[in-house]
Amino acid sequence: MATLPSRSPHSVSRRAFLTGTAAGATAAMLGRPPAAVGQQVRELQIWHTEVEPQTVKVIQDTSIAEFEKKFPGFKVKQQALGWGDLNTKLLAALAAGSPPDLTHLNPFMTASLYTKGLLRPMDELIRALGESDIHEATLKLQYFDGKYYGVTHAMGATYFAERRDLREKNGIKPPETYTDMLKLAEAMTERGRFAVQMPGEKLYMGFVHPAEWLAGNGGAWVDAKTWRPQLNSKSMIESLEYAQKLNKFMPAGWSGQKYLDTLAALANGKISMAYLSGARTIGYIEKYAPEGTRDPEHFAPMLRPHGPSGQRGISALDGENWAAFTQSKYPSEAFEFLRVFYKKENYLAYCHSVPIHLTPIFKSMINDPAYLANERIKKWKPWHDVMVTGLRDKRFLPIGFSRPEDNVLPFLAELDGSGIVADMVVEVMVGGKNPKAEADRAQRRAEELLAQLNFKRWS
């Protein structure tokens, strides 16, 4: 028969342990400063897509610090998430009825949430920030039925990043048209170096770039009135033919590589042009490009060419908007936070955390000496200038938009998610299939999808 081990002389009885713990807890409670007893700290949840550590730190040290000082009962919790993660997490949180108080949204998702009555208007805030000072490229992206439902946090643009020195050595000007671009690609193909590389993520090659092609070639995702998809339109087929030709000048495995791989390939000389680039590329160039080439004389941004049916090349404007939900717990405080966020000194610090990539939305600030005083902006001025030129010449449209009016389409997120366009592009570019046949197939699938989603307005 087993015997119980005898109790050690130093052991504590259960009763003594429980009594001690309870006494300790009570003492700890009573020991707190009187003001804190009974006071509930409320948490303002903020989600955003600027994942760079220095940006997260700047938000924490400036806007959040100031807000918490102004509203002592509040603690701000920021979460930086990548696009894909944010969208899924946000939809799940909305379904559960507990969205964050404030979040970044992709403009192509905003209309979908607005039509479901999930967004809170913010006209008062927009007026307080200065309606007339907010750049036209972003001001009315979330403007529905006479009210504002969002405000862009900052503007970045996508374009080609090129080896300017190599192009100029060949005596070629930046391309204006698809034909120019193909000639440039041919000239830039050398032994051991490909001319161009597109990112392999579906989001880019299957949504962002096709939207740019449509916009830069006189096309659109859908008919403005009936919402019937236009994937087999002349402008899309011409763009697919262009993409198929461009594919010859890309590395064979581009479709299996990612956006950041293309930036690394540009910096280390494996390609002459990265198809998708923004000011974030500067970081890669400064880190990985050979010494003596880390400057705008060697690496420059280049705007998109236009197609035979278009007037001017269009690039995607990378600029999520802040939004507050009808289900947000502390909407007033969320708007108060935004006032603090856009306060000049806080906002400047934010924009300087990734210069040029985070270009201010205020017209008065874009060429403000205080903004331009940043060392990186000074060094990479041509990149800033391309941003200014693109904005001036209306060369930018929000990500996934084929025309400004796409902000009212409530199904762009589903169209992107379905991969219908991505399948079409990859079959044409990598699979070498006939553009017209693939476009027809994508058209059928897109029509089916919109019908399933109850957005069919055509007969």
Partner: protein
């Protein structure tokens, strides 16, 4: 007697609750959901009966996913079986370092899928991958092979999956091998049987039941495999060329945001597996050996 019965039910209750809550309820809920046009996240739904099933009957994406799924499951299954059985036979022999090798063989099965896939994607990358570097240095190829591109993505996926899952076959088969009486082999040797004959007439019959189970389980697991396939190219352009049914079901639910259609796909997969298992049992089940 009644008291005993009550006690019996009470003892069974936790298991019944778990089975009901974690298996039966999700299956029935999924079946119910498949009859609705339901948004993945928003409370929007409408009864559509069998519409989703009728749609998939003529949906080219469904059939291409089915095709890729069958190719993936069949080829990986065949390679796992051949490699796994060969490795188990080797590890059943006595030689120096056998125990260490038995541990090493298990390694791919133990590391998390995410780590395995990222590691392989690095190795196979056509810009900076080690595999291409070695092939170029050895002069086997003159330009990097796009292992993660359209033409090779399925082969790469199969290689990774076989590498990751063949240890399961090794361990299971080896366990059975170790229970075969050595006297049988000794007697066969005395009778002059070659190694191949000994395998054919002693090892194979003795391990038939375990092979039956291995093939059944691995086929089901490979047909429903999601993580490895998704991590290989889930958000990439080439995902089209390895889109199996579980990935398509996920996409319908969480990227098309059509939860009802995703549920219908899950029901179809469940039905296919049930039918396949029934046929498999009917064709290959050895009642005598199993009993």
């Amino acid at each position: 007697m009644r008291k005993n019965a009550l006690a019996g039910w009470l003892l069974l209750a936790p298991s019944l609750l778990l089975i009901g809550g974690l298996i039966l309820y999700p299956i029935l809920y999924n079946l119910w959901l498949s009859f609705f046009d339901k948004h993945a996240f928003m409370p929007v739904q409408a009864f559509v009966g069998l519409r989703h099933y009728r749609y998939f009957a003529t949906d080219p994406e469904f059939w291409s996913s089915f095709y890729y799924g069958v190719v993936y499951a069949a080829v990986t299954m065949a390679f796992q079986l051949v490699l796994g059985v060969a490795a188990a036979l080797l590890l059943n022999e006595a030689f120096r370092g056998r125990n260490l090798l038995r541990g090493v063989v298990l390694f791919p099965y133990l590391i998390p899928t995410i780590v395995a896939v990222i590691l392989w994607k690095w190795l196979l990358n056509d810009s900076y991958g080690l595999v291409n570097h070695l092939l170029l240095v050895a002069g086997v190829v003159h330009a990097p092979v796009a292992w993660l591109g359209k033409d090779y993505i399925m082969s790469s996926l199969i290689i990774i999956s076989v590498w990751q899952f063949f240890p399961f076959v090794v361990v299971t088969y080896l366990a059975r091998l170790q229970t075969i009486p050595p006297e049988l082999y000794e007697a066969a040797r005395v009778d002059g049987a070659t190694a191949w004959r000994r395998f054919l007439h002693i090892t194979l019959p003795a391990t038939r039941t375990v092979l039956f189970v291995i093939i059944l389980l691995r086929s089901i697991w490979m047909f429903t495999k999601f993580d490895t396939v998704w991590l290989m190219a889930g958000d990439g352009a080439v995902s089209r060329y390895i889109r199996t049914l579980p990935v398509y079901a996920y996409a319908r639910s969480f990227t098309y945001l059509q939860a009802g259609m995703g549920a219908a796909l899950a029901v179809l997969m469940f039905g296919m597996l049930l039918a396949g298992t029934a046929v498999y049992f009917r064709l290959f089940r050895d009642e005598e050996a199993l009993s």
